[in-house]
C-alpha cells in the first residue's frame, strides 16, 4: 500500500463509518440522481456544503504544521465576501471582484503572519485579534446589512455546476490538489515541517522561518478568501455578521480529525480535507435525520468524541499491547512493538 494512502486510511475508514451511520437514519443518503445536467443527492450536497470548511482546512493544516493556529479564518470569509460584494455593487467586474477579495485575504493573512513571525505574538492571540475586529471591518464594508448583488457570473461560483458537479466542489478539489503539489513537489513541505517542529534549530540551519510563517498565514488567508467567495456567491449576498461564523473551529476540528498534530510538524492536507468531509457528513446527516434542532450540538459532540476515541493512537497502542499479551501465552514470546509511554 502506498504511504500516501496508508496515511489517510484511518480518515477514510472514519468517513465511511459516518456515512454508514447516516445511511441508517436516512436510507437514501447514498442515492444520486442525474437531472437537468447535474448530479443531485445528499452526497453531492455534502461535497458542496463541505467546500468552505475543506478550503479552510487546507490553509489551517499548513498553519497548524508550523505549530500555529488561525482563528481568524471565519472572519476572513466575512471580510473577503464583503469586499467581493461591495466591488460588484460598486459596478466593478467579476474578475476585479475576485481579485480584490483574494487580495484582501492575502493581506489579512499577511497581517496575522507578521504579528506571529515578526512581532512574536502567540498565534492564538494574534489571530484572535483579527477574529474579533475583522468582523467589524466586514460590517463596516457592508454597513451591517446583507449586501445583495445580482451577477450570475459570480453566483456561478457558489451555486453553478460544471460537468454536473457543483462548482464549489471543483474549487476545493483544485485547491487541495494544487496545495498538495506545491508542498510536496517543492521543498516547502519539508521547510514548513521543520519550522513547526523546531523553529530555532531550523533557523540555525538557515531556514528563513519568518518568511515561511508569514507565507502559511497568507496561504490560510487565501483559502479563507476562496471560502468567503463561495459562501457569498452561494447566497448572492455578503452577510458580514454571519458568514463563516465559528467555521474556524470546524476547520481546526477537520485538521485534527485528519490526524495532524496541533503541536506542529508532519502534516497531511488530504487527510484534513477528508476530516472536513467527515464533519460535513455529520452536519448534513443531522439535518436529514430530522431530529429537533436542540439535539444538533449534542449529536455532533458525541460523534466527534467517539471519532477521537476511535482514532486515538494510544488506544490503538493499548489494543496492540492487549493483543501481544494474549499472544504471549503462546509458547514463543512474541516481542511485538509495545508502544512506550514516551511517544505521547
Amino acid at each position: 500500500m502506498p504511504a500516501a494512502v496508508k496515511r489517510i486510511l484511518p480518515q477514510l475508514i472514519t468517513l465511511l463509518g459516518v456515512m454508514v451511520l447516516v445511511s441508517l437514519v436516512f436510507p437514501d443518503f447514498l442515492s444520486i440522481d442525474y437531472s437537468d445536467g447535474r448530479l443531485v443527492g445528499p452526497v453531492i450536497d455534502v461535497l458542496k456544503r463541505g467546500a468552505p470548511v475543506a478550503l479552510l482546512a487546507v490553509g489551517m493544516t499548513l498553519v497548524v504544521a508550523t505549530g500555529g493556529i488561525d482563528l481568524s479564518v471565519g472572519t476572513l470569509m466575512a471580510i473577503t465576501g464583503a469586499v467581493a460584494a461591495a466591488a460588484i455593487v460598486a459596478g466593478h467586474g467579476l474578475v476585479l471582484a475576485i481579485v480584490l477579495a483574494l487580495a484582501a485575504g492575502l493581506c489579512a493573512g499577511g497581517f496575522s503572519g507578521f504579528l506571529v513571525a515578526v512581532v512574536g505574538i502567540q498565534p492564538i492571540v494574534a489571530t484572535l485579534i483579527l477574529m474579533i475586529s475583522g468582523r467589524g471591518i466586514a460590517q463596516l464594508i457592508t454597513e451591517g446589512r446583507i449586501l445583495t448583488f445580482n451577477m450570475p457570473g459570480f453566483a456561478f461560483l457558489g451555486s453553478g455546476t460544471l460537468l454536473g458537479v457543483p462548482v464549489p466542489v471543483w474549487i476545493w478539489l483544485a485547491v487541495t490538489a494544487l496545495a498538495i503539489v506545491i508542498v510536496r513537489r517543492t521543498a516547502l513541505g519539508l521547510l514548513i515541517e521543520s519550522v513547526g517542529i523546531n523553529r530555532r534549530a531550523s533557523a540555525l540551519a538557515g531556514v528563513n522561518a519568518r518568511v515561511i510563517l508569514i507565507a502559511v498565514y497568507m496561504a490560510s488567508g487565501l483559502c479563507a478568501a476562496l471560502a468567503g467567495i463561495i459562501t457569498t456567491a452561494d447566497i448572492r449576498g455578503a452577510d458580514a455578521n454571519n458568514a463563516g461564523l465559528w467555521l474556524e473551529l470546524d476547520a481546526i476540528l477537520a485538521t485534527v480529525l485528519g490526524g495532524n498534530s496541533l503541536r506542529g510538524g508532519r502534516f497531511s492536507i488530504s487527510a484534513a480535507v477528508i476530516g472536513a468531509l467527515i464533519i460535513q457528513t455529520i452536519n448534513t446527516g443531522i439535518l436529514l435525520a430530522g431530529f429537533p434542532s436542540e439535539y444538533n450540538l449534542v449529536i455532533k459532540a458525541v460523534l466527534v468524541i467517539l471519532i477521537l476515541v476511535v482514532q486515538s493512537p494510544s488506544l490503538a497502542g493499548d489494543l496492540k499491547r492487549l493483543g501481544s499479551q494474549l499472544s504471549r501465552r503462546a509458547p514463543r514470546r512474541s516481542a511485538k512493538a509495545a508502544p512506550q509511554r514516551s511517544d505521547r
Binding site: 493556529i69 482563528l71 504579528l115 512581532v119 512574536g120 505574538i121 502567540q122 492564538i124 492571540v125 484572535l128 485579534i129 483579527l130 477574529m131 474579533i132 475586529s133 475583522g134 468582523r135 467589524g136 471591518i137 466586514a138 460590517q139 463596516l140 451591517g144 473551529l249 481546526i252 476540528l253 485534527v256 498534530s261 496541533l262 503541536r263 436542540e294 439535539y295 444538533n296 450540538l297 449534542v298 449529536i299 455532533k300 459532540a301 458525541v302 466527534v304 468524541i305 477521537l308 476515541v309 486515538s312 493512537p313 494510544s314 488506544l315 509511554r341 514516551s342 505521547r344
Partner: protein, 322 residues
Amino acid sequence: MRNPRLYPLLATIAIFIIAYAICYLQFPYILSTRVAGNLLTDNAYLGIVAVGMTIVILSGGIDLSVGSVIAFSGVFIAVMLRDSGLHPLAVFALLLVITTAFGAAMGWLIYRLAMPAFIVTLAGMFLVRGVAYMMSIDSIPIDHPFFTSLQRVYWLMPGKGRLTLIGVVMLLAFVVGHIIAHRTRFGANVFALGGGEQTARLMGSRVGRTTVMIYAFSGLMAGLGGIVFALYTGSGYPLATVGTELTAIATVVIGGTLLTGGAGYVFGTLFGVLTMGLIQTYIVFDGTLSSWWTRIAIGVLLLAFIVLQKGLLRLTTARSAA
C-alpha cells in the same frame, strides 16, 4: 527588579495603570468607586473562569468549554430551583460536583487519548451547550428568595460604589488561584507540565493525575463562574456566554501568561480581566461607536496592549542584560 520572571506581570500592571490614567483624563468619572465597583461586579464571572483558565494555560493546555459550562450552570440552577425544591446551596454544591467531574473527564480523555486539549475541550464545549439546550431552550428566570437575597448583597463604598458579593468572590478566587498555582505541589506540577510533558514525567511528576486535576479545577472554576453569572443575571439561558472562553484566554494572555505554558502569574490575569473591563467601559462611556467600530476598537485596543507589553518586556530584558 532582580527577577526577570516578574517582568510580564509588571508590564501588565503598568499598562493597566497607564490606560486607566488615559481614560481618566478623558472621562474623570471613570475614577469613581462606582465605576471601580462595576468593573469588579461586571467581570466577576469572567475573572473566576479566567483563574481556572490561567492554571490550564500554565500547564500548556487550553479549555474551550468554559463558556458553555457557564451557560449550562445557569440553566441547571434555574431548572433545579424551579423543579426540585432543593435549597440553592444544595443546588450549587451539586452543580460544582457535576462541572468538576466534567472537567476531570475531559482531563482524563486528554491524557488517555493523548489528544490535544484544544480538540477535546472543543467537543466538550459542543456537548455541554447541547445538554443545556436539552434541559431548556428557553431562558428561565430564577426567583428563589434565598437566591435573590444573595444577589443583593453588597457593601457600599465611599462614593456610592458597590462592592458586590460576586466581586468579592472573584477576588477570593484570585487569591486561592494564586496560592494553588504558586504555592502548592499541584501548582509546581502544573508549571512542570507546561515546561514539557516528557521532562515533567522524567522528573517524577505524575502527569496523568495532574492533567485530570487541572481540568477538574477549571471545571470547578467554570461552575463557580456559572453560579456567579446566574447571580449576576438572575436567570438561566442556554445561549448565554457564547465565546466567553476566547475572552478568558485573551485576559490570561494580556495578564502575561504564555500560551505555550510554563510561565505566568495568576495575578497577572486579574489585571488582564480588569483591562478587558476597562476597554468595555471606555467604549460605553464614549457612546458613539457603531457596532462595527466597537468590534474594531476592541481588537485594536487588544493589539495595542499586547504590542505595548511586548515592547516594554523587550526594553526591560535588554536593559537587564546590559
